[in-house]
Every structure is written in C-alpha cells, then in structure tokens.
Amino acid sequence: MSSRTRTLLAVLVSLLVARFFVLPWVERMEESRDNLRVLTDRLDRSEAVFSNREALTRSLADLQRNVAKMQANYPAVEDLSAFQLTQQQEVNRLLQQAGLQLVVFDWTLTGDIEGSVLSFARFRLQARGEVTAQAKFMASIETSFLNFSVREMGVSPVNAQQVAQQGGSSELSTVIDVYFRKRS
C-alpha cells in the first residue's frame, strides 16, 4: 500500500469518525448542557419561591384584587361590532341628555397595543349645541367611561356672534380612543 493510499485512508477514517462519533457526541453534550441549564434555572426559581412562599401567596391575592378592579374599567370584548354598538348607544344617550345634536359619529380605527392585553377602537364625533352643554357632555364622558381617552377636541363657533357669549352655540369635534380587553 503506497503512502498516498495510506494518507487517503487515514483522512477517510478521520472523516467517518468525526461524522459518526465526534459530532453526535458533541451534540449530545450540548443537549445535556442545555438540559442542565434549564434544570438549574428551575431549581433556582423553585428555591426562591419556596423561601418566599408566604409573601408570594399574599402578593398574589393583593394583585388579583387590584387587577380585578382595573379589569372592571376595561371590558372584555368578544364581538367588537356589538361592543362598538353599545358604546355608540351610550355616547348617544349622553348627547341627548346634554341636549346636543349629533352631526357625525364614525368609528375610524381599531387596533391592538403591541405586547399588551389591551386593544383600542377610535371614533370621531361632531356635535352641535350650547358650549355649556358640550362641557357637560365631555365631563360625563370622562367620569362615566374610564376606558375612554380623548385624543383631540376642538370647539368652533357655528357663527361668530353665537359663540361670543356664555350660552352661545358651537360645534364640538373630538377624537376618542376606547380601550378594551381582548378576549383570549
């Protein structure tokens, strides 16, 4: 057997050993290392929760109460259309109570807040009436709907003389975001 053949055979054997013995072994070692890391993390977490179990139970109960209160402000929504209809009806009721005339109501946008349990729907509203009634309406919105967040609001006179004094008529336009919980 020539030296070239011997060299080629040695290279072939080395490659076979590397492919069928070394690489699988290294992969198994890496897998074992990952398993050990996961187990270590779990053990650390377990020891931590075990030593703080009373505080953990107490905190959980407190937090559940707090979050339940907050959840009450943000309704869970399954059917978005039905929810939007309900909210629109409520807004309409407040408009009528304030004695304002609806000009435009339009749902313009819906979307999720990234990485959050909340979503939002945005509407644009235009209403005409007395300035004091508009103030009363906006105050009702703020106090009745804690999940509403006003983004924009503008008041402009229907005509310059009417808005001039208290009790004058003007047009209110506003853009409001309605926050709600996504039903998972």
């Binding site: 070692m29 053990l43 929760v49 807040i113 703020e142 503008g154």
Partner: protein, 373 residues
C-alpha cells in the same frame, strides 16, 4: 526635568544592553557554512542552531517568473524546478509585468558533506541582497570564493564575468552604481543586517529538512496527545454534566410537591404584574379635557368671548377676546391641572376687546382611573 533626563538615560542604557545581549545570543545561534561550519562569532557550532546560512559556493541560484497567487504556488514552482532530490529553498521576489519573480536556491553536491543542524536554512546571497541597495554591487570575496551580488541576483566570478563592472554590464545595472568589496568579516555583519528584513513567507519556506524530520517524528505523538486531551476533556465534561444533573434533580425533588403549585402561582403573579402594567400605561396616557372648559369659564368671567379652542393630546390652544387678556392668562395659570400657560401670539386691541391666543398644557390626573401602582 532632571529626573526625566535621568530616566531617559536609564532607558537608553537598558535598551542598548538588551540589544547587545540579543545580538550576541543570535550570533552564537546562526551558523555560516562556507568551507567549514562556524557560527557568526567564528566559533564551532552548537549541537542545534536557529539558522544555517549556506555559503554561495554550495548552491545554484535561478530566477524564474511565474504568475502565482499564493505562497503554495511558489512552493509548487520550486518543486517544478527541482532537478534531483537535493533541497531547494525559494524566495518570492517583487511583482513584475503580471508575474512574480521567484528566486530558487538548489543545494549542490558539496552541501551534502555539511550536516546543517538548524531549524531554518537560508542562502547567504539572499541575506546579503537585503542589505544591498539598488545602486550598489557587492564583490564578495572570502576563502577563495568570489561572486558578485546586486539587489536582483548573484553570479559566481568566472569566465567572462570576472569583475563587478562586467557583472553590471551583463545584468544591465543602470549607470551610477558603486562597488563594495565584502570580505568575511563584512559578510558576517551584513548577514545580521539582512536577517530582520526576511519576509514571513521566506521564513516559512526556509524550514530545514532536519527540522522537518523532527517535526514529522513529533507530530504523531503530538496528535495522539491532543486527541487524548480532547477525549479526557469530553469524558470529564460528560461526567460533570451527569453528576450535576442528578444532584440538582435530587435537590429539586427534596423541595416537595408544593413547589409546582408555587411556581404556578409565581407564573400567575408575573402575568398579573404585566397586565397591571398595561392598565397603568393606558391610564397614564389619559389627560383630562376639563382644564380647557375651565379656560372658557375664565374668559367668560372676564367679560370676554371664545372664538375657538383646540385640544390635542393635552395641549390646549384657546383663541378669544377679553377686556384684559392678562386676567384670563392669570386665571388659567392658577388652575392646578394646567402648566406652561402663555400667550401663543401677540395680544392685539380690537374695537373694544383685546384679541389673544393662549396655549397651555394639561397635567396628568393626580390619581388615574386605574389607580396607582
């Protein structure tokens, strides 16, 4: 200043001393093979040396031009031009007309009687050429051997080429060159001068055959050692992973079954904290519009009128007229829920009233609808 001078003197002295010791060390470990073998101090060589410099009488020199891309191509060229089984050294020269000049140095039969036990082998003329400027021709004459050397090659004295002038003519050296006679002592000094100028590729191609034999001998045990070390490392690693995993699993088991419930509680807690943060973030964006209506009230109380008002993300712009615009601004500034109240444009006197535009910010509510964290 005085201290600085003393310090620099010490550094210079120290550097000179180290350099002197290094050169002395090197001179004793470089052997020069001419008619006999001596180190650069003229002493008998040690059992092993760092570098063997072959005298010009022990090799032939050929210059070829090849379009090579890498060092291994030059090695192939050297193999191509090898005539027998005698060792060939090579040096990759300058790039010229798309090709590289390669200097090949093939040992002659006279070299066989000199056992050069050194790690590297290098031809004398190569080292001298590094110390030879382009406008100079060395006439190296020692121990009955004479040859001519320029920075581009050498030729043994003989036949028609028996003077540096004829060598210059034969080589086409440009006019203006000067001659330098190099005797044995001068050659020793020039060898040391040329050593630091040898390129890495030349050092690589200069590993001597004896050193290669030694390398071949130690390579097998070296590889075996490395493989053994690697196997030991892998086995120990595997053992460590197994034992550690088992120990940690037992530690986890010792904590009891309640841990799973507690971990689940912790997971719920994390989710609830994240959810609470979402609500607080949404509530934090909330700005009340009531300060804008308070602005209306301030205008009306001053006997004025509001022409228009706009509120965008908590920034209010109120456009109106009043008997005294500053009274309105003062009233708005006093409101706890406003900040940065200021005139947004010049106040102008109309027919009876002062026309103004007031801008202000609405503060976040002190207690948000979602409650405090």
């Amino acid at each position: 200043m005085h201290f600085s001078n003393k310090f620099s003197d010490v550094v210079v002295t120290w550097r000179a001393a180290v350099r002197g010791k290094l050169i002395a060390w090197l001179r004793a470990r470089v052997i020069w093979i001419t008619s006999d073998t001596r180190d650069l101090d003229g002493q008998a060589p040690r059992a092993w040396s760092l570098l063997a410099v072959w005298g010009r009488e022990h090799y032939t020199e050929t210059v070829v031009e090849h379009a090579i891309a890498k060092w291994s191509d030059a090695a192939s060229v050297a193999r191509l031009h090898r005539h027998g089984r005698r060792p060939v050294m090579f040096h990759i020269g300058p790039f010229q007309d798309g090709k590289r000049r390669i200097f090949l140095y093939e040992l002659t039969d006279t070299a066989a009687s000199f056992p050069a036990r050194a790690l590297f082998w290098m031809p004398e003329s190569l080292l001298l050429s590094f110390a030879c400027s382009p406008d100079c021709i060395f006439t190296v004459a020692r121990n009955g051997t004479q040859y001519f050397l320029s920075s581009e090659g050498t030729q043994l004295s003989g036949g028609l080429i028996n003077s540096s002038a004829k060598f210059a003519l034969a080589r086409g050296v440009r006019a203006g060159w000067h001659d330098r006679l190099v005797d044995e002592e001068a050659a020793r000094a020039l060898i040391l001068t040329g050593l630091p100028r040898v390129s890495l590729s030349s050092w690589l191609s200069s590993v001597g055959p004896l050193a290669q034999q030694v390398l071949r001998k130690v390579s097998a045990p070296l590889v075996a050692g490395v493989v053994t070390l690697w196997l030991s490392f892998m086995l120990l690693g595997q053992l460590y992973l197994l034992v550690t995993f088992e120990l940690r699993q037992r530690a986890l088991d010792r904590l009891g079954a309640d841990v799973s419930t507690l971990l689940e509680s912790q997971r719920k807690l994390d989710i609830l904290v994240a959810e609470q943060d979402d609500y607080l973030e949404a509530a934090g964006k909330h700005r009340s519009v009531l300060p804008m209506w308070a602005g209306f009230d301030a205008v009306w109380k001053s006997g004025g009128l509001v022409r228009s008002a706009k509120w965008v993300d908590g920034t209010v712009s109120l456009n109106g007229a009043s008997n005294d615009a500053t009274t309105v601004l003062a009233a708005i500034s006093k409101d706890e829920l406003t900040s940065e109240a200021q005139f947004g444009a010049a106040v102008r006197q109309g027919n009876n009233l002062q026309e103004f535009m007031i801008n202000f910010e609405t503060k976040p509510l002190p207690s948000s609808a979602a409650g405090k964290k």
